[in-house]
């Protein structure tokens, strides 16, 4: 049986620990009540970190460009970039670069031709007879030995120039560009086409039904022992958390028909129902989704989260502080998901996370907001 995808739900996990180690992101959705968005939108647009231009690039280059002296020095040795090539992981040759480490996921044929040292990949080797069909080559380009003139490095250069010499489509994002947002001649010479990341797509929805963000009384995520009652309490919490997660996905989907307050579909067609929460009121609540696309650096996402968190903490809607959520989708074909966890695709390569900040009623408590983290990985992923 094929392994199943997994969802990890954490309470009180520091957002930084989820956001920072996840380098390859292509879609970021910020979802919050429209009332709240209107209160903070002016401030968030003018916030220094988010208003500076941030670009990612698409370019078609052979691998050898990466090891050319100029590029290597500017973007890898002294700078920091993330790059990911187009292609299907498990089938094509896929290359990625982050934190100075170049990873090549190669087919058997390409691996044998390239003549570089690697190991069998963790995933994608399930062919007949369990032969090793794919290999992963990891090169730390920041290593002091990675210089032109050194034997090992020249071997890599030769391989890139003569064997893995086909042009590859890359997405590229410079992580240092917020410090110096000047157009780079190296990229211009490579024919890279830029794309602005920080221009979001803002969608305000008609009123939707919102579930309760407070877990049912008595329910707990963990603990309580092995008694039936404790088992029941954990079950209730799990169901609640999955309900909230499902709802967040539906709300991010446009929102989906079934969560719109005016929806009255026959139960023959759908039995989905939102568990009523205290936010809802009679008419439901308008939501705003702010969507960013492109190759989005993790550091920038963290900045978005912190900015919104700060702005939200200073305003309150009605008698309670507002909630907001941030969903990030990783590239399906990335070689790694979080940190160094190998990533594959097979039936679905989803890797992404959702953070939900839930304000608590207790205003006296400084750490009032509770953060719920949902991390999803497909069946082929080492992240745990």
């Amino acid at each position: 049986m094929t392994p199943l995808p997994k969802c990890y739900i954490s309470v009180h996990k520091s957002p930084e620990k989820t956001i920072s180690p996840h380098p390859f992101n292509h879609l970021v959705d910020l979802l919050l009540p429209t009332d709240l968005y209107q209160l903070i939108s002016n401030d968030s647009e003018s916030s220094s970190a988010l208003s500076k231009p941030l670009r990612c690039y698409r370019m078609s280059i052979p691998l050898s460009v990466i090891v050319e002296t100029e590029f290597l020095t500017k973007y890898i040795k002294t700078g920091n970039v993330v790059m990911l090539s187009k292609g299907r992981i498990d089938i094509d040759n896929v290359f990625s670069l982050n934190d100075g480490i170049l990873r090549l996921s190669l087919t058997k044929e390409a691996y044998e031709k390239a003549g570089l040292t690697g190991q069998p990949t963790r995933f994608g080797n399930t062919g007949p007879k369990k032969r090793h069909n794919r290999h992963l080559v990891e090169i730390n380009l920041r290593d002091p030995a990675m210089l032109h003139g050194k034997k090992g490095f020249d071997r890599i250069v030769w391989s890139f120039q003569n064997k893995l010499n086909k042009k590859v489509d890359f997405l590229f994002c410079d992580l240092d560009q917020q410090k110096s947002p000047i157009d780079c001649p190296i990229l211009a010479a490579l024919g890279a086409t830029p794309r602005q990341i920080q221009v979001p797509e803002v969608t305000a929805s008609s009123p939707v039904k919102v579930p309760s963000f407070d877990s049912p009384p008595g329910s707990v995520p963990q603990g309580g022992g092995t008694s039936l009652e404790a088992e029941y309490n954990r079950e209730v919490w799990r169901d609640w958390a999955m309900h909230v997660y499902e709802w967040l996905a539906l709300a991010n989907w446009g929102p989906a028909d079934r969560v719109i307050a005016a929806d009255n579909i026959d139960s023959y067609l759908s039995t989905y129902a939102v568990d009523h929460g205290e936010y809802e009121g009679e008419t439901g609540m308008g939501l705003t989704r702010v969507r960013f696309r492109g190759m989005i650096p993790a550091a920038w996402i963290l900045e978005v989260w912190r900015t919104v968190e700060k702005l939200v903490s200073s305003v309150s809607v009605g008698n309670r502080k507002g909630w907001f959520s941030l969903t990030v989708h990783g590239f399906e074909n990335s070689l790694i998901s979080w940190d160094k966890s190998a990533h594959g695709s097979m039936t679905g390569g989803e890797n992404g996370y959702t953070l939900l900040s839930i304000p608590q009623k207790d205003e006296g408590n400084a750490e009032a907001a509770k953060i719920l983290t949902f991390e999803v990985v497909g069946s082929q992923d080492e992240h745990s």
Partner: protein
Amino acid sequence: MEAEMIDVPPQSKKLQKSSQPLQRITIKSPEHSYSHLKMTFDPPLDPPGMVDAITWRTTLTNSLMQYLGVVGSAIRIDILHIEGDEAVLRLPTTDVVKFGAAVSGFVGTSEGRSVGFKTLGDSAFLMGLIGRAKKEHTWNGFGN
């Protein structure tokens, strides 16, 4: 036997500073799975229109009936969202394999057109489908 509790995972020093302990659970076999389907017509609908929920329901029931008989038609499918000729469906995880086989092999007729399904994605978690549905946009949309 003394019940050993696995309450709180080992914490790093940093975490212990915060007053609230980290709690974490893993969901491996959720109750529901989700499927993102596109209904295809031959010859194509002109103009490409909205396929309504009733049409989805009847066509899906037909496909499940054709492949699995009465057992198939009893699979509980919730239509969560419809956008043009695409729909997001929710079904019990235990029926995913049967469902997938039934819709991928289905050819039916509707008002003189042959009807089929194209699977755009399926996942045990609805959020996973969003990222997959939008991936192509990342590669396009450059140059502005």
